[in-house]
Amino acid sequence: MHALAGVSLEVKQGEFFGLLGPNGAGKTTLISVIAGLARADAGRAAVMGADVVSEYRRARRLLGVVPQELVFDPFFTVRETLRIQSGYFGVRGNDPWIDEVMHHLDLASKADTNMRALSGGMKRRVLVAQALVHKPPVIILDEPTAGVDVELRQGLWQFVRRLNREGHTIVLTTHYLEEAEQQCHRIAMLKAGRIVALDSTRNLLQTFSGLEARVRLDADWPPERLPAMAGTVVAYEGPRLTLRLESARDLEGVLAALRECGLSVLELELQPPDLEDVFLRLTGRDAR
């Protein structure tokens, strides 16, 4: 039984990369291999050229990982936790950066609070801060917004986008497809340990999802008398018609066919492509 099989993938420097897939697809295993938490039976992983096994010290200095599990050391306060994590990475006198990270993650008021006394969302923020103490050029966020309120989510994305703009490479796994759609430049979809899609977010949406066009006609028209059109009619209710199009180019043909029947379009609404459709089509099951 292999959690991963034949995954070959390169994330470019400075990219905001999404790793999507249903539970058990192998996302966390892949991250664990990169982070050195798990050893692959075969194959090789490297962070900015540093092999995660033979050059593990360099690889780990280049990498910041936000683990999925909400783990913490109950003996320490937030600031102590971040100082200790800095020390593990050989960063001393790190308080100015620790203060900045705490400020951006809205943790400053909790600096001297024991980890045990924090809410789940606050603990999640500390996990993010811990991954950033050594200013790693590559940051992996494994489900960073699982169980997190809207306010933190927005604050977190703002901060992560800023880090990305400043040149940090971001790899994100998430169950929230709209997040991946909003944040990621490129996406890999995993299913049962294999990559089933790997492309830019835009291409994935165009290739797999198509467009949905909702049309209101000026007359009630029997569906059997509609002309053959580019695009599939998915719903027809009185004068309201819903069509699935391969791309926006098909729209002209649809409108022309309707005109030939003497029908005019009173309203036209185009539904943008949705990553969830792509995801469902590729993984063949509900993602949430």
Partner: protein, 251 residues
């Protein structure tokens, strides 16, 4: 080296924050042993020539405290980190297996020696203590704590649950320390039990430590030190190999 330094300081801070439990409680336990055994056995057990039983007992109790607390420190710290999952923060960091080992063992030595000192200082209020060869006592305390610290680390690596660790502590560490001659001189035992005691490595730790106080021991301190050094090398070798392979820490 920074990984070692931080991990070592973190381990010290960890037991210091709960010092009532990690320092005061074991000192009190040792003093209760001293009180009860001194009361029950003083004048009834023959130990070294010219050494009263209570005076003989104190170094044994000090060393027992050193050993048990060194073991408790590394083993409980690691198992707690494994169970709560926060061991991941150390595993994600560029800490070598040698730094990891050294930090846990060094912190175990500090905890063991601090508790031992506490027991000695409080005992000295009631019992006169002589120190014929203090350097030997110090060497045995530090190396003995290192051995138990390494053993604790090993137990912490191998255990997956608290009760597995507790079994190791109750069925291996406790009997070996209790039967190591803390409460008696093995010379007073029947020959078969004397031989059995000599097979217990902890006996050499207690005996060598006691030599530092009385200048007298059941076996030559150099032999005890050799047994201790070999045991330490063996246990450290196994612990380092497991840490290096990531056994039960990395999947």
């Amino acid at each position: 080296m920074s990984g070692f330094r931080t991990l070592f300081l973190k381990e010290l801070l960890r037991f210091w924050k709960v010092s009532v439990q990690t320092i005061a409680a074991p000192v009190l336990t040792a003093l209760l042993y001293l009180l009860v055994f001194a009361q029950a056995l003083e004048g009834r057990v023959r130990v070294y020539e010219g050494v009263p039983y209570t005076e003989f007992l104190v170094p044994g109790l000090v060393m027992m405290s050193v050993l048990q607390n060194a073991f408790a420190n590394s083993s409980s710290s690691l198992i707690q980190s494994k169970i709560t999952g926060n061991v991941v923060f150390m595993l994600l960091a560029p800490i070598t297996h040698l730094e990891f080992f050294a930090a846990y063992v060094a912190a175990a030595i500090v905890r063991g020696v601090v508790v031992g000192l506490g027991v000695a200082l409080v005992a000295a209020l009631f019992v006169p203590l002589r120190t014929e060869a203090l350097a030997w006592a110090l060497a045995f305390a530090v190396l003995g704590a290192a051995l138990l610290g390494a053993l604790g680390l090993l137990a912490g690596i191998l255990s997956e649950k608290i009760d597995q660790l507790a079994a190791f502590q109750n069925f291996v560490i406790m009997p070996l320390t209790f039967l190591s001659g803390v409460f008696y001189s093995v010379h007073s035992l029947p020959p078969a039990w004397q031989a059995a005691s000599h097979a217990n490595p902890f006996f050499y730790l207690i005996d060598g430590f006691r030599y530092g106080f009385f200048g007298a021991s059941d076996v030559a301190p150099a032999l005890s030190l050799a047994v201790l050094a070999v045991s330490l090398a063996l246990v450290s070798g196994v612990a380092l190999a497991l840490l290096r392979s990531g056994y039960k820490l990395r999947t």
